[in-house]
C-alpha cells in the first residue's frame, strides 16, 4: 500500500509521518509537493501537522487552495483514503471535506503533552485495529485545536458514529479535566459520512515506537493498511 505525505510550506511533521510509514509500518511512502496537481497514484494521502502558510488568516485557510488540495478533494470524492493530522485536520475542515472548525484553545495556551483518547468507533478504515472503547495514549501539540460545530452537525456526527476519538482520562472516562482544549463533546477526531476522510488533532505519527513513550499511534496506520488489504481481497 503506497502512502503520500503532502508537504506545504510550513509543514513540520511531514518527516515524522514519512518515517513512521517507511521505517515502522514498513510501507512505501513518498512526499507530495503542495504545487503538484496529482497524487502520484498513492493509495492513502496524509496531510501532516505543522503551520502551513504560517497559519495566516486562519489555520489551514490558505493551504486549502493550494494546487495539491484540488487533487486531494477529487481523490476524496472518489473514495480515496485521506488522513489529516493536527494542521492537516484544520485544512480538511477549511476544505469542507470534514464538517466543523478548529479554533483557539479555550485556555489560549499551546498545549504539548500526551493525552488519552477513547476509540468511539472501531469499525472504520482508520480504527479497525483498535477495540471500541479502547484508550490510546497519543501526544497533542497545538494552540488551535478546539473543535466546534453547530448543534445539527453534532447530532449528525453522533447519529452516524462519525466521532472516532474523544479526549478522556486514563480509565476512558470523558471528563472536563481530560479535555485539553475545550473541544465540543471532547471531540479529538472525526470522519466524514463515507468514512474515507479522517481528521484528528493528536499526532499518531509521534507515537509509533516504545522509545517515544507510546506505540498506540501505530494502530491507526495499521488499520489503514488492514482496510486496504481487506478491500483488495
Amino acid at each position: 500500500m503506497r502512502f503520500g505525505v503532502v508537504v506545504f510550506p510550513g509543514s513540520n511533521c511531514d518527516a515524522d509521518a514519512y518515517y513512521a510509514i517507511r521505517d515502522v509500518l514498513q510501507q512505501p511512502v513518498e512526499y507530495i509537493w503542495h504545487q503538484d496537481n496529482d497524487l502520484h497514484g498513492v493509495d492513502c494521502v496524509i496531510l501532516p501537522g505543522g503551520f502551513s502558510y504560517g497559519d495566516y488568516l486562519r489555520c489551514g485557510a490558505i493551504a486549502r487552495f493550494s494546487p495539491v488540495m484540488q487533487a486531494v478533494e477529487e481523490f476524496a470524492r472518489q473514495g480515496g483514503l485521506v488522513i489529516g493530522i493536527c494542521n492537516g485536520f484544520q485544512i480538511l475542515c477549511e476544505a469542507h471535506l470534514l464538517p466543523g472548525a478548529l479554533v483557539r484553545n479555550e485556555g489560549l495556551r499551546f498545549v504539548c503533552k500526551h493525552v488519552y483518547l477513547r476509540v468511539e468507533n472501531a469499525d472504520t478504515p482508520f480504527t479497525n485495529r483498535c477495540r471500541a472503547g479502547e484508550v490510546l495514549r497519543i501526544p497533542i501539540a497545538h494552540g488551535e485545536g478546539r473543535y466546534v460545530c453547530d448543534r445539527e452537525t453534532l447530532q449528525e456526527l453522533q447519529a452516524n458514529n462519525q466521532i472516532l476519538f474523544r479526549y478522556c482520562d486514563s480509565s476512558g472516562a470523558l471528563t472536563k479535566e481530560s479535555n485539553p482544549n475545550g473541544s465540543l463533546a471532547n471531540i479529538a477526531g472525526i470522519a466524514n459520512e463515507r468514512f474515507n476522510v479522517m481528521g484528528m488533532m493528536p499526532h499518531p505519527e509521534r507515537a509509533c515506537e516504545a522509545i517515544l513513550g507510546s506505540e498506540d499511534g501505530l494502530k491507526i496506520f495499521e488499520s489503514i493498511v488492514h482496510s486496504a488489504l481487506a478491500a483488495a481481497r
Partner: protein, 80 residues
C-alpha cells in the same frame, strides 16, 4: 480605486477565549464596568475598479476565503 474594509468577528455563540482574557486584564486594571470583550480582525483591501460592483466581489471573497462561515461573521464597508 475603491478601498474596502472587512470586519471579521467570531460568532456570538462561540466562546472568545482571547476576548475573555483581555476582559480579565481590563478588570485587573480597574475597569470593572467592562461586561464583555470580543476580538475580531480588520482586513483592508485596495481594489482596482473594473466596472463591476465591488461589494458583491468582496462578499464572494469573504465566503470563499476571508471568513469561515462555521465560526465567523463579517461586515463589508466600502470606504471610498
Amino acid at each position: 480605486m475603491p478601498r474596502v474594509r472587512v470586519l471579521v468577528t467570531l460568532k456570538p455563540t462561540l466562546l472568545d477565549a482571547q476576548g475573555r482574557t483581555v476582559q480579565d486584564a481590563l478588570h485587573a486594571l480597574g475597569y470593572q464596568n467592562v461586561n464583555q470583550v470580543r476580538i475580531g480582525k480588520v482586513i483592508e483591501l485596495d481594489i482596482t475598479d473594473e466596472g463591476q460592483p465591488v461589494e458583491a466581489q468582496v462578499k464572494e471573497m469573504c465566503d470563499r476565503l476571508l471568513a469561515n462561515p462555521v465560526t465567523e461573521l463579517y461586515e463589508i464597508e466600502v470606504l471610498e
